[in-house]
């Protein structure tokens, strides 16, 4: 049944987001075309406009994936459609997992589209060489390959956004346990849960810093930290956010299993 739920949830989010995928790709192609025409001020200006539109579409992909996931979660599980969703012969856990997985997959797809569009718009051997030259010293110091460093960085951003998304779900679940002002309470609780998760990450980081002198520099000095600290920070961020994601997931499932009160 989870597969069937995923099919419908995925379709539901994607049918809105796909418009932004197409628009971002369209402007990426235009950006490349107009920037490739040399010695033309007009073409350059149009290229700049297309570049701006492409970047705003890229932000829209991420923002709308989050918004669409939250709106879908609310409509399906607490709105009119909940009368169908909660009477389907599936467990509440399956309903929640489907929402989270479909949102994560869409988010992942969004990141892939953004990276692909950046390649479409800007790829050239010289630019790749330039980026390589910029990243290589950092990657070598960290004993990473360039592609692994980029992948790790994207992964950290991905888990951070996933955390925001799941905190939003928690906010909606908690907000709808209230009798009145459900939307207001949903936003408030979502914000509180997000701030709590960030505070927890800060606390974990500080705890590590107590036992790691160079890491403590993050808290006590405003100077540039060493690359070694950056390596630890990247791994720390990844592990901490994964930990928070799992914790919030179990809290949400527990809350959800307690039952809902739809309007």
């Amino acid at each position: 049944m989870l597969g069937k739920l995923l099919k419908y949830d995925f379709k539901s989010i994607l049918k809105t987001i796909v418009v932004f995928y197409i628009l971002a790709s369209f402007f990426a192609i235009l950006t490349r075309v107009f920037f490739s025409i040399e010695n033309s001020l007009v073409m350059n200006i149009i290229g700049q406009i297309c570049q701006g539109a492409m970047i705003s579409m890229m932000f829209s992909i991420i923002i709308n994936t989050l918004m669409r996931s939250w709106v879908g979660f609310k409509q399906n599980l607490y709105g009119d459609e909940s009368y169908l969703t909660h009477t389907l012969p599936v467990t509440k856990t399956a309903l929640y997992i489907s929402k989270v997985l479909s949102a994560l997959v869409t988010l992942c797809l969004g990141v892939i589209v953004i990276v692909a569009d950046l390649f479409i718009a800007y790829y050239s051997e010289e630019k790749i060489e330039l980026i390589k030259n910029f990243i290589l010293p950092i990657a070598e110091n960290l004993e990473f390959s360039i592609s692994f460093l980029i992948f790790l960085f994207i992964l950290v951003v991905f888990v951070q956004i996933s955390n925001i998304m799941q905190c939003g779900f928690t906010g909606i679940i908690l907000g709808h346990r209230m009798n009145n002002a459900k939307i207001g309470f949903s936003v408030l609780y979502g914000f509180i849960v997000y701030m709590a998760s960030q505070t927890l990450i800060l606390a974990i980081t500080f705890l590590v810093a107590v036992f790691n002198e160079s890491f403590m520099n993050l808290f006590v000095t405003a100077e540039m930290v060493s690359l070694d600290v950056l390596k630890t920070a990247l791994y720390m961020a990844l592990i901490s956010y994964a930990f928070i994601l799992v914790i919030v997931y179990f809290i949400n499932v527990k809350l959800f299993e307690k039952g809902v009160n739809v309007d």
Partner: protein, 231 residues
């Protein structure tokens, strides 16, 4: 074993008590009217049975088991509102029901929709509210369920449509199944009922066989209801 059993169901919203000590047993093969004025707790009780609300106290048992996946397989529920994704076509909704309900008869649904001369390639958003409600009724009655729960199926529709709805219910519910119909339009529904439950201020004040009640009170259910709920 009883098809449905509600034991000491209580429901409060804040300090306001909506249901108080509801005890109810629904046998198989009966059409039961859940009757009461607006705002007396009928829909709240139905929502608790369908896992849409969490009871403050008590428990609901379907075939002796708590509400869950198994109970949802055998309960076919028609809510008082339009609840389908309006961006879907009727064909897609039929596909959705086929995907999730093993006991859904897609052919029967298509036959009933054809009787309504309804274009199944049409999106729900392009249909009138009345037509959407008919689609929902058809979908709900096309399941071979053991218990049909219909919340205000006659609310806000013209007399001709009421007749269509009642005929659809009568001619399509699964043999041996029970039907709970919540309404305050008693005269329209009286002829099809086997049992009635009167609910007032969150309490069941009467649960009786219809024929016995009529004989005892020498009046129709509608008249008895009017007498009991006179303002």
């Amino acid at each position: 074993m009883e098809l449905l059993k509600c034991v000491n169901i209580n429901k409060s919203f804040g300090n306001k008590k909506i249901l108080e000590d509801i005890n109810l047993t629904v046998p198989r093969g009966k059409i039961i009217g859940l009757l009461g004025q607006n705002g007396t707790g009928k829909s709240t009780l139905i929502k608790i049975i369908n896992d849409l609300l969490t009871a403050t106290g008590g428990e609901v048992l379907v075939n002796g088991e708590k509400i869950g996946v198994e109970s949802k397989k055998i309960i076919s529920y028609l809510p008082e509102r339009t609840y389908l994704d309006k961006s879907m076509t009727v064909d897609k909704v039929i596909e959705f029901f086929t995907d999730f309900y093993d006991n859904f008869d897609a052919d029967k649904a298509r036959r009933l929709l054809a009787d309504l001369k309804l274009d199944t390639s049409l999106k729900l958003s392009k249909m009138s509210k009345g037509m959407q409600e008919k689609v929902q009724l058809v979908l709900v009655m096309s399941r071979k369920a053991e218990l049909y729960i219909l919340d205000e199926p006659l609310g806000g529709v013209d007399p001709a449509t009421r007749d269509y709805i009642l005929d659809t219910i009568l001619s399509n519910f699964n043999e041996g199944a029970s039907v709970i119909i919540s309404t305050h339009l008693i005269s329209d529904i009286e002829r099809i009922l086997d049992e009635v439950i009167f609910i007032d201020k969150g309490r069941i004040i009467l649960h009786s066989d219809c024929d016995e009640l009529r004989t005892k009170e020498n009046a129709s259910i509608d008249e008895i209801f009017r007498r009991m709920f006179r303002c």
